[in-house]
Point group: C2
Chain length 599, copies 2
């Protein structure tokens, strides 16, 4: 066996910030060198950020990425880091471009490079292009067909990109036949609940198939609706977990591995191998250092404990919110605080994300607001130390009523829109990003006012059904002062959310005595049905067979289908479930399709 200390740089690049991302590569390579690593790896599309979407089709952007890669290689060498091999993702293109109707313009590649000695040693690109869920990669990339295998201190290290690990065949399929001692996969794999378990199992499976250790480095950070959770992993050839990085934070995962020494007989050069998926993968062998290192003392392995389910979701919301604020150049947020649970949780997420001193709350009481709404909101602002102000809306409502004769829903919506007009005005005047309080149960059923409560720049809890909103509020209160030690929590000494807000019956307070239950089924019945219909794509019959009430199924399906026009104009928010109401679920606005009644 040969020893190798590898460093996985789980870092947070920003889409389009090629200079800043290059700085991250230099900075974290320096840290890896200081830790005595022999090889350092960065995530997929590290230099450009991910996902770049149609920017990949712009020639100037591809060229900038190519230049940035060459520049960072030279810079590493200039700063004395040229001897440490660096593997990183970037955007490249095929030299011979295939011009054909409907093919991605310029033939872009989701590429990986080994940098060494101030130069690019070898390049490859993702072979399997995901085109499902949030991914649209057939639109913007063409396939790679190469598996680089680089000998580092006598170990043959193969590199692959993200989806190639998830699909059978392709570069990962030939890793075993190529005789690699380590498979290094670079990733930009977005968070969704329970995905950490799937990833670990996948790495273990591929390790056993290829007969070699697998090192998996993932991106961390928020990008529009996606949150990358990190959770970088190293498993042995038998699938045993060896090392794991924490979620939702930048981290250098350093591990000492004992790996099989490479066969001296295999020469450098290109070897085509049938990938058994209808394609041929060319193994591209290079030798950086042929001989194993002299034995050295091993450092203790680091293996972060996975977070529990609620902690994990909460971490994703905090990181997604923080990065949306920061990467869009905002320094503060504003939100309407109603005294209800949704805005209370959003305010708390904001406090955790950017600190309560940068959170501005507006209380907007109307003639229908209950006394406890105002006092509960005030209590929350006080506990967290938010900036809070009160703007009564009664006079504005009366000014509209002087010109318009509105009733029922129209009169209710008027109030919600006046509130939005106030916080949008304060946002425009003072420069805060507006946070929106809507949850997934509301988005699903259309129980919200277009341009009212649904207005804003970012909607932190839009992918949480209401019952999860309550669960997270209780979880967050329990974590306060309990020494949970989670890096994404502000150190509140006591529960940040008043208990009264958690236990009260939900109400929009837009008409006298109004309750959510006047318009919606109980959330305990609604939410599981929404999950099955929206996230699992179950049809009417399947929903009833799964135990949902038949009349409720009819009613809820209809509500969900009719509310699509509202969802299209909803602000972005972090995806935390397997299917959100963002780019993940694509249905027509105009459709007469209704799930058929049972035969």
């Amino acid at each position: 066996m040969a020893q190798l200390r590898i460093a996985l740089a789980q870092v947070n690049p920003t889409v389009g910030d090629l200079d800043g991302n290059a700085d991250l590569i230099v900075e974290w390579t320096r840290r890896a060198a200081a830790a005595g690593a022999h090889l350092v790896a960065f995530p997929e599309m590290m230099l450009t950020g991910y996902p770049v979407e149609d920017l990949a089709l712009r020639t100037s952007f591809v060229q900038a990425s190519q230049r940035a890669l060459a520049d960072v290689a030279r810079r590493l060498a200039a700063e004395g880091l040229g001897d440490l091999p660096v593997v990183t993702g970037y955007l490249d293109r095929r030299t011979v471009s295939l011009v054909r109707a409907g093919q991605p313009a310029g033939s872009p590649l989701d590429a990986a490079a080994w940098l060494h000695g101030g130069e690019v040693l070898v390049r490859s690109a993702k072979h399997h292009l995901p085109n499902y869920g949030v991914f649209d990669e057939y639109r913007i990339f063409v396939r790679g067909d190469r598996l680089p295998v680089v000998r580092v201190h006598g170990v043959d290290v193969a590199t692959a990109v993200c989806e190639d690990l998830w699909q059978d065949g392709g570069p990962v399929g030939v890793t075993g036949e190529a005789g690699a001692g380590l498979l290094l996969a670079i990733n930009a794999s977005p968070y969704e609940s329970d995905k950490d378990d799937v990833r670990l199992e996948l790495c273990a499976q591929r390790a056993r198939e290829a007969g070699c250790a697998v090192a998996y480095v993932n991106m961390v950070g928020g990008q529009d609706e996606l949150v990358f959770d990190g959770d970088s992993i190293i498993v042995g050839a038998d699938g045993t977990l060896l090392a794991r990085a924490p979620q939702f934070t930048e981290h250098l995962l350093v591990a000492d591995l004992a790996l099989p020494g490479a066969s001296a007989r295999v020469p450098e050069g290109l070897t085509p191998i049938d990938a058994l998926d209808g394609t041929t993968i060319t193994v591209d062998r290079r030798v950086l250092s042929a001989d194993p290192l002299p034995a050295y003392p091993v450092e203790p392995q680091e293996c972060a404990e996975p977070l529990d389910d609620l902690a994990e979701i909460y971490g994703a919301l905090v990181l997604g919110t923080r990065d949306y604020v920061r990467k869009n150049g905002f320094r503060s947020v504003i939100l309407g605080l109603s005294g209800g649970i949704d805005s209370a949780l959003v305010a708390t997420i904001a406090s955790d994300a950017i600190g309560p001193d940068r959170v501005h709350a507006v209380l907007l009481p109307s003639r229908y607001s209950s006394d406890h709404s105002v006092s509960d909101a005030e209590e929350l602002a006080k506990r967290q130390g938010l900036h809070a102000r009160t703007v009564p809306i009664a006079g504005m409502v009366e000014a509209f009523e002087a010109e318009l004769d509105l009733h029922g829903l129209a009169a209710e919506n008027l109030q919600a829109r006046i509130r939005a007009n106030v916080w949008m005005g304060l946002s425009n005047e003072e420069g805060h990003l507006v946070l929106t309080g809507g949850n997934k149960s509301e988005l699903a059923t259309g129980y919200s006012t277009l341009y009212g409560d649904s207005a804003g720049g970012f909607a932190p809890i839009k992918d949480l059904v209401k019952t999860t909103v309550w669960d997270l509020a209780r979880w967050r209160n329990a974590a306060a002062g309990a020494g949970a030690g989670l890096p994404f929590l502000h150190p509140f000494a006591t529960a940040p959310i008043p208990e009264a807000i958690i236990v009260k019956e939900p109400s929009a307070e837009l008409s006298p005595g109004q309750k959510d239950s006047d318009s919606l089924p109980p959330y305990s019945e609604l939410d599981p049905l929404l999950v099955d219909y929206v996230e699992h794509d179950m049809g009417r019959d399947a929903l009833i067979a799964a135990g949902h009430d038949a009349a409720l199924v009819e009613r809820v399906i209809r509500l969900v289908d009719l509310a699509e026009y509202k969802r299209r104009q909803y602000p972005p928010g972090p995806k935390v479930t397997p299917k959100n109401f963002g780019r993940d679920r694509r249905v027509p606005i105009t459709t007469r399709w209704r799930e058929p009644a049972a035969d």
Copy 2:
């Protein structure tokens, strides 16, 4: 040569309305039979409407389509139409489903069927799946691999689906070798400006390649952001145009063709042919009627004149607006009428789409509105016979000012949002769909108020740059009373748009003496630059090389890139250019990418 009278049913289905779409098939088959046709063809995905997006992944929806196909075949026979072969598009799935990560659930097919004698004679499916521009078909379909060739009155008729005509190889590539006498392509091909010329040239090219006539039937109608323009076409084997249907209206295009008789030697059954694109296509031969018809007298061919460029765009806007209103179950629209050109054109499009008696205009003067704004808006409402009312907003603005101290842009946006609150309130109270007046120049540069002028349900001119707005207004006025004879124009006797509205300098009138030119470059310079940057994906250097002013390029690129968050919350509107701000251009909200300065 053998004679054949074919009928292309250019009809307007609705997504999800399987019963209604089946009714259309029966009704138009009856018309084709009455016209003496020997074969009738309907568009791609006729039974389900197009595009169905992720509905294709729902088992209940696929099964409903399969049942609807069998039902309509039986119904045609029951109504005495079973002898007339019918070709139609529908949604099907592969019998043996490929379950694999990232593959479309249930293996759906964008399918075509021949119906005859109450049964489904033969099925096939689209081979080339478009996954660019507005299309995402790798997400929802798997490939077909069959070319049906059906002998009708001694002519071998091959059928293909839409994209198969646009790509080399695949079913269309083997049509010549299969010896077809006619290639029938069924389509759901969305409109964009000048696409009619491209389609004709494409049909002519494929006819010459395959050595046979090509009949091209297209869908017509609006579906969310897409407009299908019809423009069904028949060309001879030498590429000569033989018959053409009008755009933007349902139509039965009937043509008598003289076609080569089929070779008697070729037996029924399956023949695999190498499609020279890495795939094998199986030719599936069937015989309905082996012998040519006795000679019969030929009807005169019908060949609609293509519309000129502005007429074509206007037709698309009217049809897109009409169908969005109708298919979503609205009977009327409401819009704010400012006295400016944008709302004037939108009102006129609405009058043409659904009749002026169903168009409700609101005049919302503020302290900054000029006298001519009000009088010009009133004059337009009078000329067109709209329902008009005036709701002054000064009192509402004052009520906000009593509580908030807003300045500059924040104060301007407040007024725009109060206006939106009024028309949204009237929409909620009275049930009208809100039309939004924003144009593409505004969307591109972010020159609009989120939840203000950008609020509404449908934005008819969101894909028109400002100079095209003026061009269309002049064109529409010229078409009035001039007997243009276009089916999508309301018969106004005189110019529907007051000249004063067309010639005035554009202004948002949100602050004293405000003009668009205070904030934006002249539209004559801005608009061509936007087209090159947004629609042609040209980078900074390419834009300057194309003659755009360097400083203007820097400024406009920055404006466009920063306004993405606003565009994400904009209502849908009909796509009429090669690239709109809908699902067609996908860029991140959060990005630090700025086109680099020249070296």
